[in-house]
């Protein structure tokens, strides 16, 4: 078996473990994806909810706050990620003490993800039936209860779907961040596969990323279907 694998993809077997090995790459990709999803997700969620409730038809309508948040999201979203990687350098240095490796990639990844996800959350939650929100207000619930028990509850199926989309795009971003020093499967695919003409490495890294995407998509779909009663 090993012999067979060695024959068809010699470079993959050579570079499997150890420093800069594929195994480490998988770990680094998961690391970046996980923390970006967690931190960027929470920030994006808060930002997205804030946009929905301060909207002119929202339960805490506030033009000034809405406009400020809206501008921040727009600006961050219009910076191409490759440039964000460079622009975020000083901030990264301050926040995590390094600008290289998976840890160094987290700050630009989060900066790139949070506003993107905030818009997704906003677009999802504004679709929650305003009549349902009104009925909750008529029942005397405060904004916090309405957010947690109505918006997030009613919006959950679509929120799961957009979150899956976001995680998949985060995986894409980690590959890009990897290429400029973040490590991970993307870095390996470029530095070892592409630049050294070791096509088997490129192929395997691509497949691994695909598997990751499919698993996340499948789990997300399953969950969304389970909570969707429409």
């Amino acid at each position: 078996m090993i012999n067979f694998l060695t024959k068809i993809m010699p470079n993959v077997i050579d570079n499997w473990s150890g420093d800069n090995g594929i195994l480490l790459g998988i770990w680094q990709t998961l690391y970046m994806t996980f923390w970006t999803t967690l931190i960027g997700g929470v920030l994006g969620l808060i930002l997205g909810i804030a946009l929905v409730v301060t909207d002119q038809h929202g339960i805490l309508a506030n033009r000034v706050v809405y406009n400020i948040l809206d501008k921040i999201v727009n600006i961050l979203r219009s910076i191409p990620f490759v440039i964000l990687l460079a622009v975020a350098f000083p901030l990264t240095q301050i926040l995590v003490g390094t600008t290289i490796g998976p840890k160094g990639a987290l700050v630009p990844l989060i900066l790139g993800t949070a506003p993107f996800y905030a818009r997704q959350v906003q677009n999802t939650l504004v679709q929650v039936d305003s009549g349902v929100i009104e009925s909750a207000e008529a029942l005397g619930y405060n904004p916090w209860t309405i957010i947690t028990s109505v918006y997030l509850r009613e919006g959950l199926p679509d929120l799961i779907r957009t979150s899956v989309l976001t995680i998949i795009s985060i995986i894409g971003l980690t590959a890009m961040a990897g290429a400029v020093g973040g490590g991970g499967l993307g870095y390996i695919a470029i530095s070892k596969g592409y630049q050294r003409y070791q096509n088997d490495i490129t192929l395997v890294c691509t497949l691994l990323i695909l598997v990751l995407v499919f698993v996340i998509q499948a789990l997300g779909d399953l969950w969304a279907r389970k909570v969707d009663h429409r």
Partner: protein, 357 residues
Amino acid sequence: MAEPIIDLKNICVTFKEDQRDVHAVDHVDLQINRGDIYGVVGYSGAGKSTLIRVINLLQRPTNADAAVQVNGTDLLNLKASQLRDERRKIGMIFQHFNLMDALSIADNVDFALKKSNLSKADRKKRVAELLELVGLTDKANDFPSQLSGGQKQRVGIARAIANRPDILISDEATSALDPKTTVAILDLLADLNKKLGLTVVLITHEMDAVKRICNRVAVMEAGRLVETGDLLQIFSQPEAQLTKDFIDTTTHLESALAAVKQQPAIAHLKVGSVLVQLGYQGASTDQPLITELYRRFEVSANILYGNLEILQNTPVGNLLVVLSGTPKHTEQALVFMKEQRVSVKVLEKGTEEVAHD
């Protein structure tokens, strides 16, 4: 007179649109007594929803000198948290039911009890009790998407009365339902009014709904209440043209009259013949009036159109009749009927000479 449970004074709601102001509610006073089923009718855009949303301040009046008293509490001067407590005493149901798709029927009702002080077990009991009250016990574990419109509205009602409110506001709650389901929901509301002493405010554009369960009515047009009063009074003596139009949507009297007047026999009434509209209420209906007219005055009555409504157990009738006799006898017949507490409105008097051979 009873203290009103809802007392709105001088309510204005003005929406600022780009160029102009929309006066959705324009200086309205509204008093609703405890135990009333109060109908507010008006065409689309009249401001009905805006007005009743003022009752629980989902919509605040935009003028400074408005007063909103509900259950003796001045709502306009409450802190946000106090207002939320008061809102819990005002149930509300909606045209599109507004249930949560993500929750089962039982959980939708339970949702209303989130801020109640009931224990978990008591909440469960209360939900079961409410579902029983609206006849949906067997649907407890279903989801809203599995229910018919009428069933969804029953869930809406169970949710709205979960906290034992004194008032139930219904904003076009039957407008999305078929006639039969509409009647069932209206009867449920009337039943709750009787059983629980619930004061009901019923917004609708269907006069049939008002006729079925309301005891008082307000007619709304362009942000104003053009006429208010007891159901019987409004039906038997409507004053505003809009009120007449609305009543006609259920009695069809005006439309019948227009059709009747087209007939050649009516256009050329003979001398001694009159086209009259007879209105009667309650006891006067029991008299064999028509027979009596012939027996006493030899005046014959030709009934062209008739309508009988039973409003709050009182029959209210309207007839379009041609009375024919000698001119003198016809006059006597009209006087006689007025003595019998029948309202008589002469619509046409015959002018054509009777042809002699």
